[in-house]
């Protein structure tokens, strides 16, 4: 089962974990990304490309399911304004055993960061700035090339 959602509402971990616990599964690995508060960020706003974003996330999820024989893959990404400590993204990989679940979970978040059209804008002391893409994200995604 593949569950891909882009939403403006807060991410409910209880709901998403329950969804990832499919019958017959043996392992679930999850990653949750939060808005960091440690560098003076007051608000974080996520912009996206409606339609293209969901399609890109679905390709990432489909590829993970095929590569690791997952029983489920979940990607939930928040858009719009949010504050420090709030969840931006949640991914889960559900598999028969832990190795596949852990690897697929890392793949989901690594590929999402480079393949899906989202843009972050941070506001510090009332001044907004767009977050620059990082080469380390490209390197993290590239390690999954087959």
């Amino acid at each position: 089962m593949i569950h891909v959602v882009v939403q403006r509402t807060p991410i409910d971990l209880t709901v998403e974990l329950a969804r990832a616990e499919v019958a017959g599964a043996g392992a679930i690995a999850t990653f949750t990304g939060l808005v960091r508060a440690d560098d003076g960020v007051e608000t974080m706003e996520l912009e996206h490309y409606p339609g293209a974003t969901e399609a890109a996330l679905r390709v990432v999820a489909d590829t993970a399911v095929a590569r690791w024989n997952l029983q489920a893959a979940t990607i939930v990404h928040r858009v719009g304004p949010m504050g420090p400590g709030e969840r931006i993204v949640f991914v889960a990989a559900t598999a028969p055993h832990r190795a596949a679940a852990l690897d697929a979970c890392a793949y989901l978040i690594d590929r999402l960061k480079t393949d899906a059209p989202f843009w972050k804008r941070e506001t510090r002391a009332g001044a907004a700035s767009w977050v620059e893409a990082r080469a380390t994200d490209d390197a993290a995604a590239a390690r999954w090339a087959e």
């Binding site: 890109a56 393949d115 989202f118 972050k120 767009w130």
Partner: protein
Amino acid sequence: MAIQMLYFAWVRERVGVAEERVDPPAAVTTVAGLVDWLAGLDEAHAAAFVDRTRLRAAVDQAFVAFDASIVGAREIAIFPPVTGG
């Protein structure tokens, strides 16, 4: 043929609109050619497209390189490198 342009993040801010319909000449056949043509429209477009290394593109919602064809395209998006997750 008219193309629906979409702009995101600081590209949208610099151009001044989130979307617009444009009708480039038939000689414009690639994303790179389109960006060159758009940059010549006015100062706002020129400011948005001044540094090609900081721009990415999608043709009909598929990510493409700047040498990709735009022939027959209906929707083209120009935006900065993505920063989700």
